[in-house]
């Protein structure tokens, strides 16, 4: 799917969503649903599970949209994106602790492509952090290194991600 051509007045949309307007809800789903679905599929590659997660995501978005303004996000998509990853991580069952060797990231989504551009060790750190939702301390324990080292590596990864996004 290409980039959506329709421009949406975000402020107006949020006001209508807070007022429980069914038309606004449908518009939100039609406009952002496919983009959020692709984000879920990056974390949970199982289509069936991803569908269940998307359902939960939209039910949560509609009922919690009033919290968006206090969330600290600058755009509606930013807020929905964080909520989506949060739900995908908590609902998509994971097999933590099984990643001993290198990680292989499949798929051609931007975050997966970005992960593949990183050196082996950073790949693993970013994978565990973003795709598995593990805190830095847990990753440090798994890899047998200091938490500061992971934090330092993550900073470098984020600089690389910034450059990746800008290109």
């Amino acid at each position: 799917m290409g980039q959506a051509a329709v421009h949406i007045d975000e402020h107006l949309l949020i006001e209508r969503l807070i007022a429980d307007d069914p038309g606004a809800r449908e518009l939100l789903y039609d406009y952002y649903g496919p983009a959020l679905f692709s984000l879920i599929l990056q974390v949970v590659p199982d289509n069936k599970k991803a569908e269940d997660i998307l359902t939960t995501v939209f039910v949560r978005i509609y009922s919690e949209v009033y919290t968006y303004k206090q969330s600290g996000n600058a755009t509606l998509f930013g807020w929905m994106m964080r909520l989506t990853r949060e739900i995908a991580l908590s609902e998509g069952c994971h097999t933590d602790g099984e990643i001993v060797g290198g990680v292989t990231i499949q798929g051609q989504h931007s975050l997966q492509r970005f992960t593949n551009t990183l050196p082996q060790e950073k790949q693993k750190i970013f994978y565990l952090c973003y795709f598995k939702g593990l805190p830095k301390e847990a990753i440090a324990r798994m890899m047998g290194v200091e938490a500061e080292m992971i934090a330092g590596q993550m900073k470098e990864i984020m600089v690389a991600f910034r450059n990746f996004l800008r290109n």
Partner: protein
């Protein structure tokens, strides 16, 4: 410039991805108050990620839309019910986790009965047909008997002045 250095550190990307620690998030909120121009930088990063996500969008199956709207409708009905009856919070949570299938028609034109009523009605129907058939059979038989009897012994004329 300090702000530039801060932005270049990738902290905004880390925050937008949801990977920043609590300390980093607090620091970012403090910096936002100090430098409101950071907000436009956060918006720019979110917009970049939005563009990426839109370029890679995957269309979910059509049935999912109905499922979501059905769920949100039930949730709202349930919410109104719970506020009406002032149920406990725990109850509300339990209801939220359940999936309801509403098969009750909206108007009150229908009634629901036990399935054994179907068997009962079929039995009554068959029995009534049997009764009807036997009634006709016995009526015809009676008529035939009557005729035979008349042939054998014609009915005696009852005199008008038999008293």
């Amino acid at each position: 410039m300090e702000l530039d250095h801060y932005i270049q550190s990738g902290i905004i990307e880390s925050y937008v991805l949801g990977l920043a620690t609590n300390v980093e998030v607090e620091e970012l909120q403090y910096m936002r108050r100090l430098y409101p121009e950071l907000n436009s930088e956060i918006a720019a990063v979110e917009k970049r990620m939005e563009r990426q996500a839109f370029a890679e969008a995957v269309l979910p199956p059509e049935r999912l839309k109905d499922r979501i709207f059905q769920r949100i409708n039930w949730r709202e009905e349930d919410y109104h019910d719970t506020t009406d009856y002032r149920r406990s919070n725990q109850n509300q949570q339990a209801n939220y986790n359940n999936t309801y299938i509403n098969i009750q028609p909206k108007d009150n034109q229908y009634i629901t009965v036990h399935k054994w009523w179907k068997v009962f009605f079929i039995a009554v129907f068959i029995l009534s047909k049997v009764c009807l058939a036997s009634a006709i059979y016995f009526y015809l038989k009676y008529q035939m008997q009557d005729k035979k009897l008349e042939q054998v012994a014609p009915r005696a004329e009852v005199p008008a002045n038999s008293r």
